[in-house]
């Protein structure tokens, strides 16, 4: 009862370098998704700052935040968040409409993005006709369409079986390596985080409780 303030993210201070693959770990309610929403420009901090590049998201207007979401970050969600009434191609094309890209170019760009995630043959399908893994790949294609520098993934494998989950994570890891895209992954699965991320940040009650280089990944890299 009443209006007690809940601080989902409280005094968390961290820096992420360009090209890093960071995993935000923590139990449900630890504030990892809220932190991701702050990074995505979907939410604004009540105090403090969220600096991405040279801009402070806390000081941007709603319009500027929309532009930031459109061009700088791409988001992938646990529940895919595709528009059910649109085809796969139209879903991927949607951010380009907001970016006012010409109609003729849009189709080609969306098709190319879908090809990148291995879905070239499913352009005309509706999301409901695809498997969970395929839907998540459509979401990734959509997140990549405006060539953002940061990919934010909120439990991207949460609704997938382990096999397709691995496929999706391989895809994200590949984007990080080949395009040098900064990836921030929110997950509660430590194994997954350790397999793909360079850096593991644990949160509890909105605070950073540990921030470490993923030794396992560094070793794996060192070996390869």
């Amino acid at each position: 009862m009443g209006s007690a303030t809940i601080r989902a993210v409280d005094g968390a201070s961290l820096q992420i370098k360009s090209g890093e693959f960071v995993a935000l770990l923590g139990a449900s309610g630890s504030g990892k998704s809220s932190l991701l929403n702050l990074l995505a420009g979907l939410d604004s901090p009540t105090s403090g700052s969220v600096a991405v590049g040279d801009q402070d998201l806390a000081k941007l207007s709603r319009d500027q935040l929309a532009r930031y979401r459109r061009y700088t970050v791409g988001m992938v969600f646990q529940s895919f968040n595709l528009v059910p009434s649109m085809t796969v191609l139209e879903n991927v094309e949607l951010p380009l409409r907001f970016a006012e890209v010409e109609r003729s170019k849009r189709r080609a760009m969306a098709a190319q993005s879908l090809e990148q995630v291995g879905l070239a043959g499913r352009l005309r399908h509706r999301p409901i006709e695809l498997s969970g893994g395929e839907q998540q790949r459509v979401a990734i294609a959509r997140a990549l369409i405006n060539r953002p520098s940061i990919l934010l993934a909120d439990e991207p494998t949460g609704n997938l079986d382990s096999h397709t989950g691995t496929e999706v994570m391989d895809l994200i890891g590949n984007l990080n390596e080949t395009l040098e895209m900064t990836v921030v992954l929110v997950t509660h699965e430590r194994d997954l985080a350790e397999k793909y991320a360079n850096r593991l940040i644990s949160l509890a009650d909105g605070k950073v409780i540990s921030d470490q280089i993923n030794a396992a990944k560094a070793v794996a890299r060192g070996e390869s």
Partner: protein
């Protein structure tokens, strides 16, 4: 987002909830239809009234009378200006002055008298009037059969169609039952003889006011038959037969008023009862009337008489419009309701769009486009419905009129501007209805919206 994209997405969204959006659009259609039907009847009635006046061809004329003519003494305008006894006579001098008034094309005496005509050895009695050549382009001659007078003094005659019907022995109570074409064919080119009384002045000199009356005959050729409405408002004497004005003036026919006016006539110069001033356009009638009044004469124009009529119709249209708009107001509440429901249903979708880069303006534009599309579709369908309803009312009214023994009347008109105005009005009302839902959707918090299942 570009307008085209907004419209495309809006159309897609409207198709998604087809039934609900169709019902909302139907609501708008009913609103627009009632508006169009109401106003088309108002406009139709107005046109019916002015059509009768226009048929008289008198919208661009001012009738001038002398204040000495006491027949209309109790009229308002008589209380101003010089007393009747001091006011100028309506003679050739006055005619010249009136002709010189800015905006007046010509002024001619309104000459008319009752004469006997013989056509195919049968006598007919009717009012005959002079008509200047400039009347040729008057609205009253629209649809005239045959030709206008070939010259100012030509021995030619134009018949009003009811008189033409009488000559042919046709008896019709209703002017609309007589077709100008039908009665003109057997009459054009035929001869008739006019018998009239000529006023011949006494010899010049002291006894200049004396005159004698001679009986004359004048052969005339029928050159035209026109639809001039005998019930039009041309004074007390409605003519059904017209000859060239100059011919009329040269005939010195005995005028009905001359015995009365002869009491104060001081010369042999004619003094007219009324002059008709033809004005270059209906818009100038007012200023010409004012100028002639300053000269000390009384004036009268059809525009004067229709002023209160026009005011009546303006008020009627306003009320019809308000009643018609009520239905559209109810429909606009329907739009608000539909769109607010759509926000609830599509909350998550709005969240997704915002997460992938849609601005507040994009979301707002999308809802505006949906409201606008419903407005335009509803407006278009409503105009068609209103048109059909108007026609149906017109048809029903005519059936009733005919049963009651009246002639058919077109009491319904949908001018193009009404179609355009109805569409624009429906579009604007829809956009206004979309204001609240659109801004509500735009302000939606994306984090909350994405959490919504």
């Amino acid at each position: 987002m570009k307008l085209y994209d907004s419209v495309e997405l809006a159309a897609r969204n409207l198709r998604e909830s087809l039934l609900r959006n169709s019902l909302t659009t139907l609501g708008i259609s009913v609103g627009v239809a009632s508006l169009v039907a109401m106003l088309s009847l108002g406009i139709g009635l107005q046109q019916m009234a002015s059509r009768r006046l226009q048929r008289a061809g008198l919208f661009d004329t001012v009738v001038v009378s002398s204040r000495r003519d006491l027949r209309s003494f109790n009229r308002e305008q008589e209380t101003e200006g010089p007393a009747p006894a001091q006011s100028p006579e309506l003679d050739e001098n006055a005619r010249a002055k009136i002709t010189a008034v800015r905006g007046v094309i010509e002024a001619y005496p309104d000459l008319r008298f009752i004469a006997e005509l013989r056509f195919e050895d049968k006598p007919h009695l009717t009012m005959i009037a002079g008509l200047p050549l400039s009347s040729k382009n008057s609205d009253g001659f629209e649809g005239m059969q045959g030709n206008f007078f070939s010259g100012d003094t030509a021995h030619e005659v134009i018949l009003q169609k009811m008189f033409a019907a009488e000559l042919l022995g046709k008896n019709a109570r209703n002017p609309d039952d007589i077709s100008v074409r039908d009665v003109a064919q057997p009459l054009l080119g035929k001869q008739m003889v006019l018998r009239y009384a000529e006023r011949e002045s006494g010899g010049a000199g002291e006894d200049s006011t004396s005159y004698s009356v001679l009986s004359r005959e004048l052969p005339l050729t029928i050159v035209g038959v026109a639809d001039l409405d005998p019930d039009s408002m041309r004074g007390n004497f409605r003519a059904r037969l017209f000859i060239p004005q100059k011919l009329m003036e040269g005939m010195h026919a005995m005028q009905a008023y001359e015995t009365r006016d002869s009491a104060h006539a001081t010369s042999n110069e004619p003094v007219y009862s009324t002059l008709v001033a033809r004005v270059s356009g209906a818009g100038k009638v007012d200023s010409v009337e004012q100028a002639i009044k300053k000269l000390g004469f009384n004036t009268f124009s059809i525009l004067d008489a229709t002023k209160s009529l026009r005011r009546f119709f303006a008020i009627l249209d306003l009320f019809l419009g308000i009643f018609g708009s009520l239905a559209l107001t109810v429909a606009s509440i329907g739009i608000i309701n539909t769109l607010v429901m759509a926000i609830l249903e599509r909350r998550r979708e709005i969240g997704i769009m915002k997460a992938i880069g849609a601005s507040d303006a994009d979301v707002r534009g999308l809802f505006f486009a949906e409201a606008g599309a419903m407005g335009i579709l509803g407006g278009a369908f409503g105009v068609i419905m209103g048109w059909v309803i108007g026609r149906a009312i017109n048809f029903g009214t005519n059936v009733y009129l005919v049963r009651q023994g009246f002639s058919r009347e077109n009491i319904w008109a949908v001018p193009l501007w009404l179609v355009g105005a109805a569409l624009a009005f429906s579009f604007i009302v829809s956009l206004i209805s979309g204001l609240y839902p659109a801004s509500r959707a735009a302000k939606l918090d994306p984090v909350q919206a994405l959490r919504y299942e």
